[in-house]
Symmetry: C2
Subunit: 124 residues, 2 copies
């Protein structure tokens, strides 16, 4: 029998922050997300939809990357944790194909269940 | 003509945090909230509903207070800010009427527009 240790929300927040700061977004999803996680965009999102399941989340990431002409910079803040939720600030400065340069900031909010991230929701 | 200065999201976050730490919840609403602000609870909330408008938000607060038999303690974390959003952790330890002692933690997320909070959303 192999007992797999379930990560606490605080441990997930720390690992998420570590991977984000190393720009390892895919690895963060692979390590920390539940297979049926949801990704929720605000109602006013342009070109990005709310989706569920890792295949759809991976496709959403690839679609976003394909809209970027050049990434000039980005940053991620320190996460805050309460109960089974994590919030973290992040920002980016990118030239989007056909849409010019975009500087944006957002709060990403994560819900954890049984040691995995079951939803990410973006506020901008 | 009196020009009223519009507060930045960062200024609102600082003032909100200051008032919360002084336990001045009503004053925070009176000073910082838009008259038609929304207050959003999670789908699984018990005894609390999502509402819109300050009268409904005030009533929600009063209803919650009427469910508390004794408040043993509470805490509020440091707010994080990105764009027009603020997130802050908070917790409380209270005995609820007929429901025993409840320790809970949550992330509260605020959206700011034109120098006022237009929504508060709770994640727990």
């Amino acid at each position: 029998m192999i007992a797999e240790k379930v990560m606490t929300t605080k441990e997930i927040a720390n690992r998420l922050s570590e991977l984000f700061k190393e720009n390892k977004w895919d690895q963060a999803q692979d390590e920390l997300f539940s297979p049926d996680a949801r990704s929720i965009e605000p109602p006013h999102a342009v070109g990005l939809q709310s989706v569920q399941g890792m295949p759809a989340i991976k496709k959403k990431g690839a679609d976003f990357n394909s809209m970027v002409e050049e990434m000039h910079g980005g940053w991620v803040g320190e996460p805050i944790v309460a109960g089974n939720h994590i919030a973290v600030t992040m920002g980016m400065d990118a030239t989007m194909k056909g849409a010019g340069r975009l500087k944006m900031e957002e709060i990403a909010l994560y819900e954890v269940k049984d040691g995995k991230i079951v939803s990410e929701q973006f506020f901008y």
